[in-house]
Symmetry: C3
Subunit: 429 residues, 3 copies
């Protein structure tokens, strides 16, 4: 970390500022007031109207994703802190990457939708971050941010502009994409030394409570995520309502199945923190369609079940057989529910509740998102595997003290001991 990390971070920031100077400008006619005398309503008029939804998404990105990952007992700083820098870098890069693709040679204009989309683009990286949490250096994370958002912007352009598929809540382009990208990276970066787990890969009582802050802000604001860039009127209304009910149903089934699959019928915090959100992912693609509240609840309820079962059975299978160590279980929260969302979108189009897309285009969008993610993730993984990015050793995984100044006087005695032993093992990074 001595010089490589700061130089890369500053270099990226300088490069982005130069790109902004060249390509980005204000929307010169940004009427953000709502009280216009004109009868025509343009996207630009909606700045202040959509600003609260943007802020909800903003909270999901920085507090939601950030705290959701603080469940590990010794990786809270890295979870919330690396989340912070990934998202701050990502939103700048996402503004450029998406802007260049959509501006068709003109300057990139900043409006509320470009800001929402910039925040969205960071979500893909934060999902992938969940798969490699605790096993990567900040340098690797900066590199992954730049590459992943570039590929994401390309796939999103393909899905939205070429296939013209519906994916308003981004089940496919963000959730499935981010999950399979992250799993591919995690697969390439497989650490056989951790195949029997790591003593730090567990929570403590209060770290689980910090994680619930993330869960709840994600859960509450998910209707804003799925509706923020929806068409005003009925579609935006439905995106909010459908997501609200899908998530509510998902909570009930996630709790029920958590109890069913856990020792002596208890509830497992891993399920509560994650599977309760699967309904928001799964309803994403068809959130703005007329699937009816009860349809949303079926989608959400099934997603909660699938997600818990994934955590219980698939994650161990992935780690042992497929050699993919998925720290946060993003496959169960974003991968499976994302695929389910894509399939639900195909079914919805087949049932005629949407007239803006075809089954083939929806299927193409799903295939493209997963395919691009896996290929992109494998390539990114190979780049990140180069032994020059100051990776932590196996022993130092899931431990903040490698990259952070950690208070010496910590809250539990076993931290003292852990840190004593670390002082000898700590690598010169």
């Amino acid at each position: 970390m001595r010089f490589t990390f700061p130089l890369i971070a500053i270099g990226l920031e300088v490069a982005i500022i130069v790109l902004f100077q060249l390509f980005v400008q204000y929307d010169t006619d940004q009427h953000i007031v709502q009280h216009l005398n004109t009868s025509k309503t343009s996207d630009m008029d909606r700045f202040i109207e959509l600003y609260p939804l943007f802020q909800d998404v903003h909270v999901m990105i920085f507090i939601g994703f950030g705290f959701l990952m603080t469940f590990l007992k010794k990786y809270g700083f890295g979870s919330v802190g690396f989340n912070f820098i990934i998202a701050a870098l990502g939103l700048q890069w996402g503004t450029i990457a998406q802007g260049l693709l959509h501006s068709h040679g003109e300057k990139i204009h900043i409006g509320i939708k470009s800001m929402i989309n910039a925040d969205f683009s960071t979500a893909t990286v934060l999902i992938s971050f969940g798969a490699v949490l605790g096993k990567t250096s900040p340098i690797q994370l900066l590199i992954m941010t730049i590459i992943e958002i570039t590929i994401f912007a390309g796939n999103e352009y393909l899905v939205g502009e070429i296939f013209k598929a519906s994916d308003i809540g981004a089940s496919m382009t963000i959730h499935a994409f981010g999950a399979y990208f992250g799993l591919a990276v995690a697969g390439v970066l497989y650490r056989s030394g951790l195949r029997r787990g790591h003593e730090n890969e567990e929570s403590v009582y209060h770290s689980d409570l910090f994680a619930m802050i993330g869960t709840l802000f994600l859960w509450m604001f998910w209707p804003s995520f799925n509706s923020a860039i929806a068409e005003p009127g009925d579609k935006q209304y439905r995106a909010i309502v459908n997501t609200y009910f899908s998530l509510a149903a998902c909570v009930l089934t996630a709790y029920a199945f958590s109890s069913l699959v856990t020792h002596r019928g208890k509830l497992d915090m891993v399920h509560i923190q994650n599977a309760t959100l699967a309904g928001g992912v799964a309803v994403g693609t068809c959130a703005d369609m007329a699937i009816n509240p009860f349809g949303s609840m079926i989608i959400g309820g099934v997603a909660g079940i699938i997600s818990v079962i994934g955590f219980k059975f698939l994650t161990p299978f992935f780690a042992s057989k497929l050699r993919i160590q998925d720290t946060c279980g993003v496959h169960n929260l974003h991968g499976l529910p994302g695929i389910m969302g894509g399939l639900a979108g195909i079914v919805a189009v087949a049932l005629g509740v949407s007239d803006t897309s075809t089954m083939a285009m929806q299927a193409a969008a799903l295939g493209s998102s997963i395919g691009t993610a896996i290929v992109g993730g494998l390539i990114t993984g190979l780049i990140l595997k180069l032994p020059i990015w100051e990776q932590p050793t196996d022993q130092n995984c899931y431990d903040d003290s490698v990259y952070w100044e950690v208070p010496e006087c910590t809250e539990h005695d076993n931290r003292f001991n852990a840190h004593d032993s670390h002082n000898q093992l700590e690598p010169e990074v």
Copy 2:
């Protein structure tokens, strides 16, 4: 917990989905855009305009109530986790219960007000949950949610549609109702084995900080709670302004009286976490009336005093003499200030600051809310007393490890010891 809890949760969710399929539909003419060419403004036009207020209420329900109750040292998972499932179930059931009463045989249409009202209906159960916190099984909580919201919807219909009383911030129909319902349940479920307290019924340093997250989000967003369904224009404006100033005044008196009644003039976190909110409850009924900012401040200031005094003197009296163990002291935060709010409403009507109700109707609303709550709570308590709901033993009260997988490596040594002894005592639930 082996099968009863999951089966009940899934059964309820399936039943609700069927009811939604039968009775609930979109608002077909949901113009959520605000830039209409029509000059008439309907409720439906206000969807996106009221959406930020809905989200504030949403945060109060899930983060506010959830974290407010995390103050107990070993019951953080149960506080925030059971709060989550109660609210998720409650908002679905509330949509149906309130919708059926107000739809007069037609289909239930989902709009921003029905979503706000659904969130409101969960607040009653979350208040009652505070009274029985740590002493009930999740099965009991699911049952209480269904029964209480049903009775709440009936009383709210009576107050609003029959009495046509004013209660915009729901001092009577939510706060007093939820508190006395919960106290009645707690009275029926009295545990003589806990009459001398329980070693777990206390906070640790960081659990008190988690609780402050809940307090502050409740405090900040309370103006949204009291104004979310107010009439647009002056009334909504006044509901926001009055609540803002009532709460500010309440903080000063709550701190002052906390210091006055506490050993050596110190401040007590229980008072700071709870009594600072009493001003929001007490100003609720007359929040949209022209009581003037200084009037609101008097109401808020007095409420802060009453609440602290309640915590200091009434809660111990309730536990010892009335045999009502009120874990969170909801009587002091919601009960007394709720009654005060109802009385303030009567006075305000008497003083002529409102023309939409009469003193008699306001008094009837207050009496009905408390009466219905007590009768409903007693009946619910008797149902919950049946020895088939996998209640915790006295020894296992206020302890997450009965219903949750708790990390073995916890933050303080005394947890280890507590858990060792628990492993023998833990019931087969």
Copy 3:
């Protein structure tokens, strides 16, 4: 604390209620609906439109500032709890102090802007509170609140109404003012007994995570802070966009320089919690000007660097040479970036991106803000130095147990020991 604190708190509240009765009234023509048939748009129409921005600012004041200061291991109650009462008192007093100056003899009318400005006025005190955190009694804090907001209102009137300078995000009038006021107070209250530090003046693992809650809510909602009272249309739009990008750039440089200046290239939580916010302060004055996104990013990036360097080198220098003990390092988060913001405003005016002010008036505003703050802070410090305000002893600094009931069963053994020794040392306050 036995009687002085409660009597002062109640006395202030009663006095404020009387002043409200005399001077404050509703905006009688408060059309908060947005769907007016009139074509003219007045400030008053914007109540509900600006309400979400007000709530963002509200969250910054109560959660943002409150939790940002919880980093100390034994001062979490005082940080979030004293923040709470300062802000609740301050917003009431700020309403009067600012209202009397701006109402020109008429009654003070409450609107969304007066509520936002009232919240703003509390920010100055909360910044100053950061400089004296852990070394002051609640009585001192109440007195500082009243005096500082009065002086702030005077300087803000001078800057805005007399100089007619631009300072939309209040880099000068809030951030620089609050910082230098607090530093002046801290200088007068210098404690030589703490010149070698204090064993409590450090964080523990979870207190740093609590502080990140504050950091992130401040960071996310800063665009609302800088734009809440901006002119509708282009200016408000630019204030949001510029702040968003300034903050994003600031994160990258703050992380980079934190790693550069810290032992073995690690990241330091103090920098991450604070310096990442400097971009919001520094872009404040010219946030609504046409400085372009890349211009904002340069300002934010430089602010992040200056802030980290300030924490690393200036804070120790201030403590040892200037005898100013700045607990939270407000000089690096608010002081230096505030000056930088003022200077950036002068440069922006010189470059012609704003037509509403002149370089001389901007310079006068900066000088006035710092000068008034230092003089006001020195006078306030002298008043607070009187030995009648129940100050903590040096030994009792940074310790909640002096003014708060602290749970005996705490989370780490070293707290037990610390408390044992305290029981003997605890002063009779």
